[in-house]
Amino acid sequence: MISIEEVKHILTLSSLEASDEELKKLQKSLSQMEEFVSQIKNADVDDEMSIENKVSMNALREDEVKDSYPVEEILMNAPKQKFNSFAVPLMMED
């Protein structure tokens, strides 16, 4: 069973929020889901993982500039934009 504290913690990590009622519901669902995947925890694997999906350095992208996208297209789906930038409420210097 995942504790309410743990649910709150992963909500924070995921940038999500939930009311107290929703929290209880989430606790239940997440615990069900966790139980479902818990077989992984108990599985017996001690093999070192080999890295199979590799690409040689020689096959990588060359350092040649290509045209960037026009600013309008970059911003076209932003819910709020100002001065050709994405805009959010003023943040305190962090």
Binding site: S15, S56, N84
Partner: protein
């Protein structure tokens, strides 16, 4: 006050000198109108995928070789997940378990070796511009995706001076090897500092405090000094130093606790499934190693050892990569390092030492030709200066111009003798005076000969001739 030992570690980020960003082909360039160097990949658009830049990997390897690191056979990229407006995908592509470079380090002048833990490749975030209540904070992703190397030192430094020297040497190497420009004022190089103190004799390290927002060499020094004092105060008053991240304010000269944004963050690192592991063949590493230019430490040894230059001259040459590279180029063409460094010092530096952009406007070929002609007495001292100025301003060949302008006329022995005899016959009184006061009159004779030969005569030859002739 008790006696304390200080332990310092540095985490340095440098923007790589590539044409394009780390994971897309947008221009890697400082400045520009907001969001004009962007594409779906670097702004994290749905459906976009990273494509890694070969040059960024090569430069990281190069940096590792400069610092004596081991280069991993296989490098893996991981996602560092957190939410912040300047991070377009809500994760930064970085490296954790298998970075490109491991270990290595830098030797300080004192001989002390500061170890590196790793050098890895990652991408930069965008920029936040905090405007006003009405406008808010604006997000510009031009810088987002620019390739950075992160160089993490072991906590081997014990004073702000050592930290500065380490940072300086790191920076020098990166500049000399053409890996990064390290312009701190443009954010091209950034430094986070970790400081802890412990009572002298205590085995365990004290609590480590991390400091961010340090934007200049001076600030590194000030921040470390302040933090050491701050921690000392706490311990002296019986308190405990809290492990935290603090923000340095260089204007106020103090650090403040950063809000929980940084504290106990769980980045949930995992290997980025969009990026395959990169295999680094040994041949590639060796090729990069072969192409490494000599680094400042090695150049210093060569200039002072092999070339016999003074410490002063050496430091002058090494103060800017441009000077040193130019010097090296000249020496390759004309193997007279001492003459060359004199010219660079007296003529070249005087012209550009106050310039922001140090551009040497005379070619190594021209400069060495001028020096050679002067030393062979093919042109006069004065002419050499004129020629130098001309080559600085215009795109000409020194030798060609000397020929066509008549500077370059060689004097045969007969011609010189003829002229010297002329001087003798034209100045009978001087010849008389020479018998009694040769030292007084010799300069006059030499002067006369120089006038007639336009300075092309060899003064030693003249001296000898007159001495013989008028004995």
């Amino acid at each position: 006050m008790k006696d304390y030992e200080v332990t310092i570690g540095l985490e340095v980020h440098a923007e790589l000198k590539t044409n394009t960003k780390c994971f897309c082909s947008c221009k890697n360039e400082f400045g520009g109108e907001p969001n004009t160097h962007c594409c779906p990949v670097c702004v994290g658009m749905p459906g976009a995928l990273p494509v890694i830049n070969k040059k960024a990997v090569e430069l990281t390897i190069k940096a590792g070789l400069c610092m004596g690191c081991d280069i991993n056979d296989i490098a893996v990229f991981e996602r560092k997940n957190y939410f912040y407006p300047d991070l377009s995908k809500a994760y930064q592509i970085s490296q954790l378990v298998r970075p490109i470079c491991l270990h290595g380090g830098v030797k300080l002048d004192s001989g002390k070796f500061i170890r590196l833990n790793r050098i890895h490749l990652e991408e930069d975030a965008g920029k936040l511009v905090h405007k006003s209540e009405t406008v808010g904070t604006l997000i510009d992703y031009n810088r987002g995706g620019v390739p950075l190397i992160e160089m993490v030192s072991e906590p081997d430094m014990s004073s702000p001076e050592e930290a500065l020297e380490f940072l300086g040497k790191l920076r020098e190497n990166l500049i000399y090897a053409d890996i990064a420009e390290c312009k701190m004022q443009e954010g091209g190089m950034r430094c986070d500092v970790n400081v802890s103190i412990r009572e002298k004799g205590q085995k365990e390290y004290g609590t480590k405090v991390e400091m961010k927002n340090i934007n200049s060499f001076k600030a590194v020094e000030r921040a470390i000094k302040f933090e050491v004092e701050r921690q000392k105060d706490i311990l002296e008053n019986g308190g405990t130093v809290r492990q935290e991240t603090r923000r340095w304010d260089d204007v106020l000269g103090e650090s403040s606790s950063m809000r929980s944004k940084e504290d106990s963050k769980d980045y949930r690192y995992f290997p980025d499934p969009d990026i395959l592991a990169i295999e680094i063949p040994r041949e590639n590493v060796e090729k990069i190693r072969k192409e490494l230019p000599l680094l400042p430490v090695e150049r210093k040894e060569k200039y002072m050892g092999e070339f016999g230059l003074s410490l002063y001259d050496t430091n002058l040459l090494l103060s800017e990569k441009v000077y040193s590279n130019f010097f090296d180029e000249c020496v390759k063409l004309y193997n007279k390092p001492k003459s060359i460094v004199n010219w660079i010092q007296s003529q070249v530096l005087s012209l550009i030492k106050d310039e922001e952009e140090k551009e040497i406007k005379i070619s190594a070929s021209n400069l060495t030709k001028i020096i050679e002609m002067l030393e062979k007495k093919e042109i006069s001292q004065q002419d050499s200066r004129t020629l130098f100025a001309k080559c600085w301003e215009e795109d000409i060949d020194a030798k060609e111009f000397a020929k066509s302008s008549g500077m370059l006329s060689t004097l045969s022995e007969n011609e010189l003798e003829k002229i010297m005899d002329e001087v003798i016959s034209e100045n009978p009184k001087a010849c008389e005076d020479f018998k009694t006061t040769p030292d007084k009159v010799m300069p006059f004779f030499i002067g006369q000969v120089m006038k007639k030969t336009k300075g092309k005569a060899n003064s030693e030859v003249v001296r000898k001739y007159f001495t013989e002739k008028l004995k």
